[in-house]
Amino acid sequence: MNILVFVKRVPDTESRIRIRHETHSVIEDGLNFVISPYDEYAVEEALRIREARGGVVRVVSVGRDESLTVLRKALAMGADEALLVKDDAPETYDGLRTARAVARAVEARFPGTDLLLFGKQSVGADNSQVPAMTAELLGLPQATVVTKIELGEGTLTAVREIEGGAEKMTLALPAVVSAQKGLNEPRYETLKGIMAAKKKDIPVVTLEALGLTAEDLAPQVEITGLDVPAARAAGRVLQGEPGETARELVALLRGEAKVI
C-alpha cells in the first residue's frame, strides 16, 4: 500500500486567538503551533495499515517553511518520507486553492498512491473542504469524517459519522478518507523516532514547480473582516439550597429568557 497523509500546522486548541485587523490576520506571536489534531489520527491510521499490510507512508504539507516541524513530527511517529509544498501565502481560508496544490502534488510526485488520508478538518480554518475537493479533482471516491477503516482487496470499507448514527461505505481504491476522532489512539513519538526523523532530508517543492498557475492559485475567498466574537457577559449566579435554586432558575428560564 502506498499511503499519502496530508498534515497542516495549526495553533493548538488551548490558544487564545488575537487579530491584527489591518491585515485580517491572526497574530501568531505567542501561539504554540502543532500538527492539526485530526491529522494525527490520519498519520496513525496510515502507520497501522503499513504495519498490517506493508507499504510506504508519505506525509505532505502545504505551507511555509515552519510546516517542516509538523512533517518531522509525522516522521518521528514513523512515516517513511515527507514533502513540503512550499506556499508562502498567508491563510486564505480557501479550500479549493489548497486542494489544487494537493491534487497537483499527487499527480506530479505520487501517481501510484492507493490511499490518501486527511484529518476531517484543520483545527482553525475549520473548512472540511480539502479532502472532498481533492477527491473530486483526482476523480477518486471519498469517505469523510471516518471512525473506522477496513481494507479489502482493491476496496476499502469505512464507517463515517452522520447525525445520530453512522454510514458504512465501500470505496474502490485508490480513495480519499478523512479521519475523525475515534478512528484510533495516535502513538507518541519515541526518542529513536525523533532522532531518525532529524536525520531525514525533507524535499521542498514550490507551487510553480508543480505546474500551478497564478489562475489556479488566485483565492476565490475575499476576506472582508476578521474579528473576535463579542464577549458574552457573565449572567446571574444562584447559590443556596438545591431545590430552591432549581425553582428560581426555572422561573428565570421561563419568565426572563423565555426558553421553556
Binding site: G95, M133, T134, K181, T245, L253
Partner: protein, 325 residues
Amino acid sequence: MIAVFMETRDGKIKKSSLEALSEANRRSADIGCEAVAVLAGPEPEEAAGPAFSAGAARVHVLVSPALADYSAQGYAMALADWAREARPAALLFAATAMGRDLAPRAAARLGVGLVSDCVKIGVRDGRLEFTRPIYAGKAVLSCRLRSSPQMATLRPNVFPLEGAAGGTGEIVRTDVVIPDGAVKGRVVEVLKEQGGEIDVTEAEVVVTGGRGLKGPENFALLRELAAVFPKAAVGASRSAVDSGWIGHQHQVGQTGKTVSPNLYFAIGVSGAIQHLAGMSSSKVIVAVNKDPEAPIFKIADYGIVGDLFQVVPALTGEIKKALAE
C-alpha cells in the same frame, strides 16, 4: 436565483435544509431574485411539499435511479451539471454530514470557492457576504466569493425557519445521466445510534456533562434531564470523552462539535477555552458547578453554584412541572 440543495433522509426534507431555504428566500428579496429548491433522487418530487412553504419559487428535481442512495460523486455530478445550465447566483447547502461531504465536491467540480458553516448572510454590492466562525468560534470571519455560483454551507439551528407544512408549486424536472462506473464509493448500510438519539448539532437543547460527573454511570442524570425536552441531546466535554465515559460523537468543543442550541446546560464542566469555543454561540447558557470560580460562570447567562448530584434531579423535576403547565 439562489438555489438550495434539499437533503432528504427517509424520504423527507431535513429541517436544516428548510432553514437554509428560508434564509435564501430572505436574501433573494434583498437582491431582487428568487429562491429555488433542488432535490435529487429516483422520484424526488414526492418530497417537494415543504420546500414550497419554506419559500421556494420553484423546485428543481434532478432525477436518476443512480441517485437512489447518496454518494458524493453521483450527487456532485448531478448538481454541477444542473448548475452549469441553470446558472444560479448562489448554491447553498445545510452544513450537515451530507452537506459538508457534498458541497466541497460539487464546488471543486464547478471550479468555484466555498464558504463553510455560515451563521449569517448579508448582501453587499449585489453579492452575498458570509459570516462564519473559525477556530471553532474563537474568531469570526466575514468574506465574499469571487467565483460564481457563490457556494456556502449554513450551520443548522441558526437561521429561522419559515413555514414547514406542505405546499404546492411549479416542479421542473431534469433527467440526469450518471455514467456506469462513475460512482466508485457508496453507502452500503446506515447504522442508527441506539435509542434514536438526535445529534448535538441538531438539538434545540443540549445537556453537557464534564469531569464533575465523576463517572460514566452519572450521564444517566443528564439523559433524564434531556428526556424532559422534545428535541434534546446529551453532550460531553473533551475530558469526559477522553476518560472513556461516553462516545466522541457527543463531544462539544474545538476537537468535537460546535453547537448553537436555544438552551445549553453545562453540568460539571469547568469551561476550558477549547470547550467554550464550541458552545459560546448557544442562545442561553446555564451552568451548574460546585466551584464558584469555574470559568464557565464567566459566559453563562444563569449559573447555579452547588452539588450537581442534588441540583440536576431538582432541575429535572422543576422543568417537567413547568412544561406540564
